[in-house]
């Protein structure tokens, strides 16, 4: 009984990792896809953090969406999953640091206007908390893939001759 239970878990890991990999791929593709159509807005979003000059923010704002889409595609195809997941985790941690910084500085970020109604709602601050929590989940998913990079339907698996 005991051995049967132990052997069931290893068999499940590639499937769990596959779900994590595809989920993260969707996150990155959507994140990049939303920004890629308006690079000027992306630059302004980076600029809003007031961490770098506008000229630097413009370059970061233009490069970032393409990198996000590339990471999404790499995760989707399952190429060098461990490395890609590690990069994904690092970027997410950077985002968390950025949001924390904005929160600490009391910056109003991520809307052209203050909000829909113009008044700064009481819920405005909690949005930062939710954003951070969301990114922590994504870090966890990335971490899971670094720890267990073997997944189904991946280029890695294909190249290693796994079935």
């Amino acid at each position: 009984m005991e051995t049967a239970r132990q052997s069931r878990m290893p068999a499940a890991w590639p499937w769990i990792s596959t779900v994590a990999r595809l989920g993260l791929a969707a996150v990155w593709l959507i994140a990049g896809g939303l920004k890629v159509g308006d690079l000027a807005a992306s630059a302004r979003a980076v600029n809003a953090y007031q961490l770098m000059s506008y000229d630097t923010a413009k370059v970061v704002g233009a490069v970032q969406p393409f990198l996000e889409i590339a990471i999404g595609l790499l995760l989707l195809s399952g190429l060098a999953t461990r490395l890609t997941a590690a990069i994904s985790a690092i970027l997410m941690v950077i985002f968390i640091a950025g949001i924390s910084w904005a929160w600490a500085e009391g910056l109003r970020i991520d809307c052209g206007c203050f909000s829909d109604g113009g008044e700064l709602g009481a819920g405005e601050t909690t949005a930062y908390g939710v954003d951070i929590l969301r990114d922590v989940v994504f870090v966890a998913l990335s971490g899971l893939l670094v720890w267990r990079p073997r997944t189904r339907f991946s280029l890695d698996g294909l190249l290693l001759g796994e079935r």
Binding site: G37, D38, L39, A40, A41, A43, R44, N47, A48, Q50, Y54, A57, K58, V59, A62, V63, Q64, P65, F66, L67, I69, A70, I71, L73, L74, L79, A80, R82, L83, T84, I87, R108, I109, C111, G112, C113, F114, S115, D116, G117, G118, L120, L155, D156, L159, L160, G161
Partner: protein, 240 residues
């Protein structure tokens, strides 16, 4: 005999393991190289897209002040700069609550009111780029000497976010109701003459470190949380 067989099997197993490990190493190495290459190329695409952006020919309206990036009302001693996007709801509120008071102060010769029409909300007009078109049209109106009239007409008819906004024809119609029928204006709106200018005004706004609209500065100092009260207070303080 059986001992030798075991040993042979063991040796084969060791060799197989080594081969598998070698293959894993090779796959890891080359896939990692591929990942780095893909990311590098993606970054390069982003960078070349940025540098290759064609904003169209820049036409600066000669009537514009502040290095050609704003339209002024009045000529009082205190300078009040207003950065607004024609689609922004908060700007619509600001215009309703504070706009008349500012225009009155400008009329009384107490302030120089400078409007900077920025375009930061293009992504909220379903591809119609209303913010840019409206800002460009306002420059054409300013050139025709009717900036305030047109500006007020656009805010009175401010479209909601996530709609396509007002069409060029509708803006021309609103201008006509406000007494602006100039043929040069109509042509400029239809041809989008000042669109590159609107982009440049927005760039200058961002380069100053501003990110939200409305942004109000009084003698260069930003008014945080701009309302009728805070802005008039800042003006009184600057007037001394």
């Amino acid at each position: 005999m059986s001992k030798g067989k075991d040993r042979a099997a063991l040796a084969r197993q060791v060799v197989a393991d080594q081969k598998a490990a070698e293959r894993r190493r090779a796959v890891t190495l080359w896939t990692s190289v591929a990942v780095v290459l893909v990311l590098f190329v993606a970054g390069l695409i982003g960078y070349t897209t940025l540098t290759g952006q064609d904003e169209g020919e820049l036409v600066v309206p000669s009537a514009a002040v502040d290095d050609g990036s704003a339209f002024a009302v009045g000529s009082g001693p205190v300078t009040v700069d207003v950065y607004e996007d024609f689609m922004c709801p908060a700007c619509g509120n600001f215009e309703q609550t504070t706009g008349p008071a500012l225009k009155q102060l400008a009329g009384e010769g107490r302030i120089t009111l400078r409007f900077h029409p920025v375009a930061i909300l293009d992504r909220f007009s379903k591809g119609a780029e209303y913010s840019t078109r409206a800002a460009a049209a306002s420059a054409a109106a300013g050139q025709a000497g009717k900036f305030t009239e047109f500006h007020d007409a656009l805010y009175a008819n401010r479209p909601e976010e996530n709609t396509t906004g007002l069409t060029d024809a509708k803006m021309i119609e609103l201008a006509a109701s406000a007494g602006l029928t100039d043929a040069t204006f109509v042509d400029a709106v239809n041809e989008g003459t000042y669109k590159a200018w609107a982009t440049q005004v927005t760039e200058k706004f961002s380069a100053k470190g501003f990110s939200g609209t409305p942004t109000i500065t009084v003698n260069g100092e930003q008014v945080t949380d701009p309302t009728a009260e805070t802005v008039t207070q800042a003006i009184e303080k600057a007037t001394g």
